[in-house]
């Protein structure tokens, strides 16, 4: 029972790191980015190449995956995404689904369609036994890393100048622009950073979520659930939503394995019916 809880929390933390970039882009630019999972996949495959083929240590592979994905994300943002912000939601959905299809086929072409595994160091394998609860070392590492990241993100948003600019831009883009905040630049940086986080999540999660070319399609719905259920106005909303989702999914798959993801979708629809703006959104809709 507690092991499920533990695994669920690890899973949820992972989902949060994967999805928090998406929640910011959605809240800031009202942009529906279905291709977020593609960036996570880029991070995952970067790690596979770096660690498995080039023999770079796992601990160094993770930050490199972050940087590489952030770079790719920034590049895409500046060259492609900027043209689509002002378009209708239909255009955004089409555009990003197109990107997903392209990334799936491109990865299939370059890396093959089989599932990839990252060689994690021996020191991280196996599990602790604490009061009879089995805790996987690797999962513990994920919780630690993601927990630290969450705290860092929260501090960054709340304390730094950039964070306050970002929050201002999310709250009211026009006024923020009027106050001299370069919303485009803020958004570009945030997008790159969010993509980087997704890449890091993909790298960390390759072991748990599995990594193959259909990754962006398989997990797209999960990221979107995190964002829609959590709301886009704060970082705590998506965080709580992803923990809930993680625990719900692990528990659902453990107790009613045949129903699979049914539980999750049902919960999502129920929540969205109850509060269309997300569980933790502030009351007003824009």
């Amino acid at each position: 029972m507690l092991t499920i809880l533990f695994d669920g929390v690890a899973y949820g933390m992972l989902l949060f790191v994967l999805a928090c970039g998406l929640s910011v882009t959605l809240g800031l630019m009202n942009f529906i980015n279905l291709a977020h999972g593609s960036f996570a996949m880029v991070g995952g495959y970067c790690t596979v190449v770096l660690v498995n083929r080039l023999g770079i240590p796992f601990a160094l592979g993770l930050p490199l995956a972050f940087l590489a994905t952030a770079l790719v994300g920034g590049l895409f943002e500046r060259t492609l995404y900027v043209h689509v912000y002002a378009r209708s939601h239909l255009d955004q959905v089409l555009f990003t689904i197109g990107l997903v299809f392209m990334s799936v086929a491109a990865v299939d072409y370059t890396m093959g369609s089989s599932q990839q595994f990252v060689q994690i160091p021996d020191a991280l394998q196996g599990q602790f036994d604490v009061f009879g609860i089995g805790m996987g070392k690797y999962r513990l590492l994920i919780i630690v890393i993601c927990g630290l990241l969450t705290v860092a993100l929260q501090l960054m948003l709340a304390k730094t100048r950039f964070g306050s600019r970002l929050r201002a831009a999310v709250d009211d883009q026009r006024v923020a622009r009027g106050l001299g905040i370069n919303v485009g630049a803020v958004f570009g940086i945030t997008f790159a950073f969010g993509s980087g986080l997704a890449g890091l999540g993909g790298a960390l999660g390759a072991e748990i979520l599995g990594l193959d070319p259909t990754f962006p399609l398989k997990y797209m719905i999960y990221f979107l659930i995190v964002v829609t259920v959590g709301g886009t106005s704060s970082i705590t909303g998506p965080f709580l939503a992803s923990i809930l989702l993680g625990i719900g999914d692990v528990a659902g798959k453990y107790y009613v394995p045949k129903l699979g993801a049914f539980v999750i979708y049902a919960i999502m629809i129920a929540v969205l019916l109850w509060r269309p703006q997300g569980l933790f959104a502030r009351g007003t809709a824009r």
């Binding site: 689509v84 197109g98 049914f262």
Partner: protein, 354 residues
Amino acid sequence: MAMTVEDRPALADDVAAHLKRRARWSPLEIAFWIFAFATIWLFPGKYLILKDAAILALFALSLDLILGYAGILSLGQAAFFGLAGYFAGLVAKYGVINEPVIALVCSGVAAAALGFVTSFLVLRGSDLTRLMVTLGVSLMLGEVANRYSEITGGADGLQGVDIAPIFGRFRFDLYGHNGYVYCLIVLFVCFVIARRIIYSPFGLSLRAIKENTLRAAAVGIPVKWRLVAIYTISAGFAGIAGGLLTQTTAFCSLDVFSLDRSADLLLVLIIGGTGYLYGGLIGAVIYKLLQDWIANLTPQYWQFWIGLVLVVIVLVGRERIGGGNAALRAAVVRLGARLTSRPATLGGAAPDGR
């Protein structure tokens, strides 16, 4: 005292005449359908791909009804497609309804019932919420179908479906001839119904809702119920498309619920253009040809090129592509007006208010 149209017979007549003129079949439309039926004799070796295109066209037509006319963005049209697909498969397998046409109508009704129930979920919230709810519904159905694999066949698909001959006479033959004719006729019938709906006052009110929901409500259109109605109708059409697929292939698998199917559908509609009924039909034919051609070049990676087409379409601008369409349409309407050569009596010759 409010005056209604009925109080002024002359105006009522004018409005009726205007609506009637709008709804008249143009020569090009007639030519389109003559050509569509001529394909039965023109391309005898291509029945399978033509049949797929016809089913896809009907499916796209169903999405066009809600996206192009009511402005509802949906990624969950596959839910109705899949539900009706399994419905048609199961009733045939267990011999509940042997006549394919009746079974098809029933599966459409089943899908419409699901559409009616879920429409209340879809009408809430923003575009993103709608997207998630529609997607969630179709994924949930996919999970249910997977769960009850002893009924649906699970990942292996529904097997052992034996479809009886249509009206007891026309067997679904190996070459797909009868199957294609059947699909084409169903498509035509559904199209005529959809066309009738769109050119009715009901259809006009949907346009009003899409252009400006607030104003539509202000002039007295019951927005919610109109949307529920069109969503239900659209679900029914999607269901008939799903039923057709099962009946003509005698098979139904879990991928009827997949996200790819709904995403492809959007692409079809975007290629053809939304909001003029033929978009789905033309888009379906182009899409099928494109898919066939690319799949022949690179069997495994055709998705890449489909994705590229999507990205390019959006970057170039749907309006620009649609603009070409609009110019073409205007030319067609002018041509049609000249051929029928009857003087306009109300509101000039503008084809529609855009």
